[in-house]
């Protein structure tokens, strides 16, 4: 019996380690794959997309809502001394500017119903500044949502989106 003790211990340790490692790595792996998929679908770095209305034929993210206008911007703050300038144009109904890091966490959301919103995104480790948000990871996604449950309002949201900005610059 004692000769099985070592292998059994190795089995238990490997099971626990693989379990924890899988859970730890899964969000980052899924986010990386999603970022790659978004890039392949034309979501550029440091520029908001001009979105199509979400339909079964155009959907690219799981559980997207067909009632919302989604504009995406991928960011990469790994180059030293760079910051991201962001602006969400005015929209008379619900809209929000949401920030997701490389681990899928929604680390900030700014609501802008009826008004425009401007903010800067700083790289990880930056000191807090007024009018700025510090990203927990160098890469991530920024998402504007606008309530637009029909074709006419979606078209109007697209017009409002012309005032959106996602631009990398030297600090």
């Amino acid at each position: 019996m004692r000769r099985w003790l070592g292998p059994l211990l190795a089995l238990a340790l490997c099971t626990a380690a693989a379990h924890v490692l899988t859970l730890y790595l899964t969000p980052g792996v899924i986010m990386n794959r999603a970022m790659d998929a978004l890039a392949q679908r034309g979501v550029a770095l440091h520029r908001f997309t001009t979105p199509e209305r979400v339909t079964p034929q155009t959907q690219s993210i799981v559980r997207s809502s067909p009632d919302l206008y989604y504009a995406l911007c991928r960011y990469d703050l790994s180059k030293l001394g760079t910051v991201l300038d962001l602006r969400m144009g005015a929209w008379p109904d619900y809209q929000s500017l949401a920030f997701f890091d490389g681990q899928t966490d929604n680390f900030a959301t700014l609501r802008g119903t009826g008004k425009a919103v401007s903010v800067r995104l700083l790289p990880p480790g930056s000191a807090a500044q007024p009018g700025a948000i510090v990203s927990p990871t160098t890469k991530g996604v920024i998402l504007i949502r606008r309530l637009a449950p029909d074709a006419a309002r979606f078209a109007a949201a697209g017009e409002a989106g012309k005032a959106d900005l996602c631009r990398l610059r030297e600090a």
């Binding site: 190795a10 899988t22 859970l23 999603a34 959907q59 009632d67 949401a98």
Partner: protein, 199 residues
């Protein structure tokens, strides 16, 4: 040699067990498992209010990364999902249902149908959801069916969905909903009307 083989087998089996158990407990494997998870259950509508935040447990984080990527934190939006009708049977394309509800404790709401892969069903019916702007104030009803019903104010198409679930989005939720969801939310009901092939 036998001892070495035993250790190697233990390591390989342990890695497989750890990987499989993590994916299973997070609801990621096998594909198509129910989204029944979370710390909130209002009449079968389930959610985890830690979605989108660092406080979510690792199982929720992994599951949401797969099934609810880019979901907002609860102060901005709450997402509840239900995969069973009022009788406890899985929602499926072969059946028709009456979805009904009332005023929601949020600035805006919608109910959207998703297939087992968490995607909108592959149809061109243009009837994927019902939301506050279409439902109007007060009580509302919609029929969920694979074909447009003859008499119904609102229709949500399940054509091409197979076994499906519904996601209730509550944007700009009332503070009371976050602290007491069961006492605050009058959750929509899902009554099965008929099923194809049923006598």
């Amino acid at each position: 040699m036998r001892r070495l083989s035993a250790y190697l087998a233990a390591i390989v089996a342990g890695c497989a067990l750890g990987l499989g158990s993590a994916l299973w407990m997070a609801g990621l494997w096998p594909a198509g498992r129910s989204l029944a998870f979370g710390d909130v259950d209002v009449d079968g509508w389930r959610s985890d209010f830690a979605i989108g935040s660092k406080t979510a447990d690792p199982y929720t984080r992994a599951r949401v990364a797969r099934h609810g990527l880019l979901a907002l934190a609860k102060t901005e939006a709450v997402y509840l999902t239900r995969a069973l009708d009022d009788a406890g049977e899985p929602l499926r394309e072969a059946c028709a249902y009456r979805l009904s509800g009332g005023t929601m404790p949020a600035g805006w709401w919608s109910v959207t149908l998703y297939d087992s892969a968490s995607m909108l069903p592959a149809n061109t019916d243009g009837a994927l959801s019902i939301d506050a702007s279409r439902a109007g104030a007060g009580r509302w009803e919609a029929v969920i069916a694979a074909r447009r019903p003859e008499r119904a104010a609102h229709w949500v198409s399940s054509r091409g969905a197979g076994t499906f679930d519904l996601t209730l989005r509550l944007y700009m939720p009332n503070a009371a909903l976050l602290t007491d969801p069961n006492g605050t939310l009058d959750a929509p009901r899902i009554a099965r009307l008929s099923c194809e092939g049923a006598s």
